[in-house]
Structures are given as structure tokens and as C-alpha cells.
């Protein structure tokens, strides 16, 4: 069994070779340690550094880079799949009650709003929801900072861009080229319907996004308790 200092050396070796994420480092360190232990067991005169060099060579000319790249792709795929799965779940009974409530409430209130204020109200609601998502995401980043390590699992930003699709659609409608700028409130009931539908979809997507963040936090606490217990 390697010593604590040798294990620390392996972590430093990973960092030196551009593996800065703890969740990738621990897997590589375990592999390197196993291989080195086997090599030294077979040849006790073999030095630790030499055994490490030989083991590192077996990763090929690109070294650890393909491992990190594929791990990043896998995390994005998993996050995206989880987001869509949680989004779809929100439309099953009884969770669909939330979507129905949001739509019904917003559609009922829409005609009561003064002219030209419908679009602004929808945009304000969306901004509030975006702030809530940002706060939820920020709490994960704070947890990571407290742990003293960087985690590839927390590099999910690219995967969750689709959460803003309803917002992008809303923006596209507002920016549609026309001699008269299309505003949802000028479309009457149809405009209200579209706006309330997009708002509902965005809220549901936000709920799913926050649940993804919760899932990521639970995964981190379950898999790396020693790191996050210190952080907590």
C-alpha cells in the first residue's frame, strides 16, 4: 500500500498534468496507485517515480486529456437527460397541478392588467425566476468553494442552457421583424395565451432545474462525504 505522501504526490501529478477536478483526480489516483503497487510488488527494486512514469505512459500520447474530455461530455449528457426527465415528470399527476395553477392564474389575471403592461409583467416574472435559479446555482458554487476542491460535476452550465428555451422563444416573438413591433398584449387573447403558456413552461423548467441542482448536491454529499462534511 502506498503512503499518504505518495498518494498526495499522485494528486499533485494529476494537477501538473492539467487534471484540476477532484472527482476526476480520485479515479486517476486510485488507478495510478494500483498500477504502481503491482509494478513494485513484481519488481521491488523499481522506484516509485519510475513506476509512475511507466503507468502514465500507458494512458497514451494524449495522457489524461481524453479522460477529462469524455467525463465532461458524460456529465453534460447526464445533466441534460435528468433535466428533461424532471421536466416531463412535472406534467404527470399530481405534479401537473402546479402547471395548471400557474397557467390558470396568469391567464385569469392577464385581461385585468392595464394595456402595454402584460409583456412587462411577464418579463418581470421571468427575471424573478431567473434570480431564484441563479441563487440555487450559486449555493452549489459556494459549497464547492468551501470544500477547497473543484468538481467536474459542477460544470453543468452548457447542459442546462435548454432550460431557457421558453425565455428565448419569448424574446424571439418580441424581436420578430415587422413594421409594427409585435407585442403579445396587442394580440389580444391569443397573446395572453402564448405569454401565459411560455411563462408556465419557464416556471416548470425552473422547477426542474432547481431539482437538478438538488440532485447534484445530493450526489456530491453521497460520493465525497469526507470533503463536504468538512465544508458543511
Amino acid at each position: 500500500m502506498l503512503t499518504k505522501e505518495q498518494i498526495e504526490y499522485l494528486f499533485a501529478f494529476c494537477r501538473k498534468h492539467w487534471v484540476n477536478y477532484y472527482d476526476v483526480q480520485i479515479e486517476l489516483v486510485d488507478h495510478l496507485a494500483n498500477a504502481i503497487e503491482d509494478k513494485i510488488a513484481a519488481n521491488p527494486k523499481l522506484a516509485f517515480e519510475e513506476a509512475l512514469t511507466q503507468t502514465h505512459k500507458s494512458f497514451g500520447v494524449r495522457g489524461f486529456a481524453p479522460v477529462v474530455q469524455e467525463k465532461q461530455r458524460a456529465i453534460e449528457r447526464q445533466s441534460r437527460r435528468l433535466l428533461l426527465q424532471l421536466f416531463k415528470q412535472q406534467f404527470r399527476w399530481p405534479k401537473i397541478i402546479l402547471a395548471l395553477m400557474i397557467f390558470t392564474l396568469s391567464f385569469s389575471l392577464a385581461p385585468l392588467l392595464p394595456n402595454d403592461y402584460f409583456d412587462i409583467t411577464i418579463m418581470i416574472a421571468i427575471i424573478i425566476i431567473m434570480v431564484i435559479i441563479a441563487i440555487a446555482g450559486y449555493s452549489l458554487q459556494r459549497l464547492e468553494k468551501k470544500s477547497g476542491h473543484k468538481f467536474l460535476l459542477l460544470q453543468y452550465q452548457n447542459a442546462l442552457n435548454c432550460a431557457f428555451l421558453p425565455l428565448n422563444l419569448m424574446t424571439a416573438i418580441q424581436l420578430f421583424p415587422n413594421e409594427h413591433k409585435i407585442m403579445l398584449n396587442k394580440l389580444g387573447t391569443s397573446g395572453h395565451l402564448i405569454g401565459c403558456l411560455l411563462l408556465t413552461l419557464f416556471v416548470i423548467m425552473a422547477v426542474a432545474t432547481c431539482r437538478v441542482f438538488k440532485n447534484i448536491k445530493q450526489t456530491l454529499l453521497k460520493n465525497y462525504p469526507e470533503v463536504f462534511q468538512i465544508a458543511a
Partner: protein, 86 residues
């Protein structure tokens, strides 16, 4: 099983015929994990943490399907190379 164990087990079972390199193994394991076919469990083994991989329900189903596909492929190749004359 953990990564290093997989490489050694494959080497032992195939008598050294099949040697999975680390550069091939870990990207593949992560890809399968991303596709939901593998799940992981972490264990503290004293001086370090070890990551164990196991097949999910979907992974077992996919594994069975892949074996069937391989069997069909081998049968097809067998037929092409040594067709039975009627």
C-alpha cells in the same frame, strides 16, 4: 468493479490476448455512465477513495442486446466465409 480491476480481469480472462489501455477504458466508462448504463459507488479504502462501476437495469438490458447483436454478427460472418452448400 473499479477501473484497474477491469483491465486486469480482462487480461487474466483472455490470457493476455486482450489488453485494454487506460486511454481507452476510462473515456468508455464515463461515456457509459453518461448514457445511464453504469452507476457508481465510492468507497474509502484507507489511503484513497475508489470508484466502483456496476451495470444499471438499462445497462443489463443493453448488455444482453449487445451480446445478441454480436452473436448475429458472428453467425453472419460464419455464413459469408463458410457458406453451407445446399
Amino acid at each position: 468493479m473499479y477501473g484497474y480491476e477491469i483491465t486486469q480481469r480482462v487480461k487474466d480472462l483472455t490470457g493476455g490476448e486482450l489488453n485494454i489501455t487506460e486511454g481507452a477504458l476510462y473515456p468508455l466508462l464515463h461515456r457509459l455512465e453518461g448514457a445511464g448504463l453504469l452507476e457508481v459507488e465510492m468507497e474509502n479504502i484507507g489511503n484513497r477513495i475508489r470508484k466502483y462501476y456496476s451495470l444499471t437495469k438499462a445497462g443489463k438490458k443493453e448488455s444482453a442486446a449487445a451480446m445478441e447483436e454480436l452473436k448475429t454478427f458472428l453467425q453472419t460472418m460464419q455464413f459469408l466465409i463458410q457458406p453451407q452448400l445446399s
